[in-house]
Symmetry: C2
Subunit: 303 residues, 2 copies
């Protein structure tokens, strides 16, 4: 209850335009860099190297969502293609998260398909994995359509995301589990401000993850809930699921000790590394998610 009020309140507050301008201008001074690797690609590659030295895998995310103009879409797509080159030249196997509207889904489904093809074709040459991320509810069905088309051509070089708080997520999961080859799915609770009618209060991530693993999918559980992580670890041990069939995915800067504890126990742990100029939406969702994250920023303001 407190969590819901806090979350909705914080998301409304960060929508408030004077606060938005202030944070956008001064954010770096008091702790955005705890959650965002930097504004430039070089910042991101440096972050990936540091994570590597701690035995952590990375998933790179060029920030920017709800992109609605063809010009921005082309710029984003170019930036993503450049990222593939730069990472691969740095000797890093690229593992990227892409928002569907970055490649045009809010403009035109065919545009998104063509841009995804450009990215995946270039990606094939450099051994990249592309995770087609999920934005808010209106993009859910078109994103799954796009994913299915891509999966047919590129198999498991592309994955997508299931937001378990969406009421239709169980049906979506079951549909996806019929794919051949079995899909790679990132399972998250979902963090957008949605109509309460379409989301569960109960997040069901454990149940969704177990079902996916039981039916042969590769499941990447994205959470900071220590209990859920332990449950999945126990399930995986019980079922004898090999290391290439699951990952624990956590966000850059959130609970670093937890990240390391699961690495120490021998689990594959991948860190979501966001970078880029458009960090505001991402940042405010991190604050909404956990009062501890807001406290971190407040301490930055006064310390």
């Amino acid at each position: 209850m407190f969590n819901t009020i806090y979350r909705r309140g914080l998301l409304s507050a960060t929508d408030f335009s004077p606060l938005r301008s202030f944070l956008k201008r001064h954010g770096w001074r008091f702790g955005v860099n705890r959650f965002v690797a930097g504004e430039r690609l070089e910042d991101a590659t440096e972050a990936i190297r540091k994570l590597e030295s701690r035995s952590l895998l990375s998933i790179l995310d060029l920030l920017g969502e709800f992109v609605t103009t063809a010009e921005s879409v082309e710029a984003m797509t170019q930036e993503i293609l450049l990222t593939l080159e730069v990472l691969s030249r740095s000797g890093i196997a690229p593992y990227l998260s892409i928002k569907p509207t970055q490649i045009g889904l809010a403009v035109d489904a065919d545009l998104a398909w063509e841009n995804a093809q450009r990215i995946l074709d270039r990606g094939r040459a450099v051994g990249a994995h592309i995770c087609l991320d999920m934005e808010s509810y209106p993009y859910l069905a078109p994103t799954l359509d796009l994913y299915r088309r891509l999966h047919k051509v590129h198999g498991n070089r592309v994955s997508t995301v299931l937001q378990s708080y969406i009421k239709g997520s169980l049906a979506d999961l079951d549909d996806l589990l019929d794919l051949d080859p079995k899909p790679v799915l990132r399972i998250v609770k979902g963090a957008y401000k949605e109509d309460p009618e379409i989301v569960y209060r109960d997040k069901n991530r454990g149940a969704r993850s177990f079902r996916g693993l039981e039916r042969g999918a590769t499941i990447n559980v994205a959470t900071h809930d220590e209990r859920l992580l332990s449950e999945v670890a126990a399930f995986v041990r019980g079922a004898g699921i090999p290391h290439d069939r699951y990952e624990f995915q956590l966000l850059y800067g959130v609970k670093p000790k937890l990240q390391e504890a699961f690495v120490r126990d021998g689990h594959p742990v991948r860190i979501y590394v966001p970078y880029g100029k458009d960090w505001y939406g991402y940042f405010s969702r991190r604050l909404a998610e956990r009062p501890a994250n807001l406290m971190f920023v407040i301490r930055g303001l006064f310390g």
Copy 2:
């Protein structure tokens, strides 16, 4: 840290003789009956029936530990034999927990063996299961010896208890896992006031339980730690362990909502039902275990 101080402090306080006399005299007035079914066997059978109506299994425990005279041992053994009769005549399949010193282990190992045989022979006729419980460290090795002898004759009509906080518990577990048939083990953290040298701070119950299940034993996980219960549930689901290979065991009166939640999810849940006049040691360990339990008693005192 707080927990350790609280626990040791409370165990010392309840050893303090004026407090002990006061509580022994007035305990029933302010909440002993939350944790103890009653002083008489009829109280216990009534509690078992009530649990049955909530789909909960029972393990009946005649209170009394560290029994050191041959007279008390004979009285206890008679009471246990009577309990088998009464339960069976009431149509209840007896599932009893017995402390080794109740049947004579503090007097003489042969006496304990003979009394255990009397109980298990009578138990066979009424389809009883006997769990040979574990007391404090000095009784550990003799109890395991007794259990092994009994297991050879009575197989899995007898089970025993592994206290995971004991440093030797992993080696003990591995030895027990070589038994044929694979043993039935209740895994607990352990709640006696022991020399810090021989106990772990980390309780290791999860690791012990998984190992036991992997090696084919029947594991009864005795805990109120919701996270541990969820981990075991996840392991069991992953490994496809059938319902007759594990149980969740919780104590009478502790976290009733948790008991019911796991029953609702389809897990076998058994409640440890203590009864009898000698409830003081058991009661003080419950207070030491969780500040919430002490608060319950304090509210009883003033309300």
